[in-house]
């Protein structure tokens, strides 16, 4: 997260600063020495989490080995909320500062949010099948997560339509700004709704996790956080490149416009003062 230091005027400047002299060297990628270090750390954390989550930690007393799903599921859910939060915060900052970097960051957050919400939903249903005997139940958390996925799909659908960065209207950032409040209202009301009827069927979703299991969960968090940061950094840079590639070179376009052939005056350009 901090690696990208959302600085719209100089995205990735911190990463560039960490590797002076790298300019122009190597193939053209979105990678930088900073992002490579982050990537290595993320891969190491993933390896550690896999080791702990699948081998070193014991099975849970109640859930058995199904607890190993939690090490993916819970950090993913956190990551998707983090993505939504980034989108809302960056949208607000775009509306305030109007610099393109914030808009790119808002899009990156939403896309990562969607990726992790899909993982959350899939792992949640996979956990539900052996636990409740069904892939889907109208549990408050599952339902509000599904709605969150739809909200993200809607935001990205609007975003896809409104691509032109120079003529960008405020509608995408306003929808992005509404994302987090919507997520909050939806999840609160859904939880209130479900708690009235089903007496806490699913409090076992987050059972007491202690000891080695806690260590495994923490390595899961670490891995997902680092992976999230790496993905966000690269998604931001891809978005920035898209912005640069699409950005109108105004000087060039103006010259082209002034020298347009064939559209010249079809009339004598006579006196400026027209006889009255």
């Amino acid at each position: 997260m901090t690696a990208i230091a959302p600085d719209p005027t100089g995205p990735g400047r911190s990463a560039a600063a960490s590797g002076p002299g790298a300019a122009g060297a190597g193939p053209a990628t979105t990678g930088s020495p900073g992002s490579r270090a982050l990537g290595i750390a993320a891969l190491a954390a993933v390896a550690l989490a896999t080791l702990y989550g699948l081998a070193l930690s014991p099975a849970d007393v109640e859930m058995g080995d199904l607890v190993r799903l939690m090490y993916v599921h819970v950090p993913s859910a956190t990551a998707c909320y983090l993505g939504c939060f980034i989108t809302t915060a960056a949208s607000g900052l775009w509306l305030w500062k109007r610099t393109p970097g914030w808009d790119v960051l808002a899009g990156a957050g939403a896309e990562l949010g969607l990726l992790f919400v899909v993982i959350t939903l899939v792992t949640g249903s996979l956990w539900g099948r052996p636990t409740w005997g069904t892939y889907w139940t109208w549990d408050a958390r599952l339902t509000s997560t599904a709605l969150l996925a739809v909200l993200l799909v809607g935001y990205l659908a609007l975003r896809r339509l409104d691509l032109d960065p120079d003529a960008r209207s405020a509608r995408v950032p306003i929808l992005g700004l509404l994302l987090m409040p919507n997520v909050f209202i939806v999840s609160r009301s859904v939880e209130w709704w479900r708690s009235l009827h089903q007496r806490a069927t699913i409090t076992t979703l987050h059972p007491q996790i202690e000891g080695d299991l806690m260590v495994a969960l923490m390595t899961g968090f670490l891995a997902v956080t680092l992976v999230f940061a790496w993905l966000l950094l690269h998604r931001f840079r891809v978005g920035w490149l898209e912005y640069q590639a699409q950005r109108l070179d105004l000087d060039q376009a103006l010259d082209a416009r002034r020298s347009e052939a064939g559209a010249g005056a079809s009339r004598p350009t006579g006196d400026e003062e027209v006889a009255k």
């Binding site: 300019a23 193939p27 990678g31 080995d65 993982i119 899939v122 993905l231 690269h234 490149l241």
Partner: protein
């Protein structure tokens, strides 16, 4: 280990989804990097 299938599918699918997304990101980054002048890529 109980429920091996569920555990394997969960972890495997997560790896595939995140890894696939990461690969597409890198590929998109490479493609776009060639279209954009180097000074636009302030990180390299």
């Amino acid at each position: 280990m109980t429920h091996v299938g569920y555990v394997a599918v969960t972890w495997g699918l997560s790896f595939v989804l995140i890894g696939g997304y990461a690969l597409t990101l890198v590929a998109r980054g490479r493609k776009l990097s060639r279209q954009v002048p180097p000074e636009a890529r302030r990180w390299s």
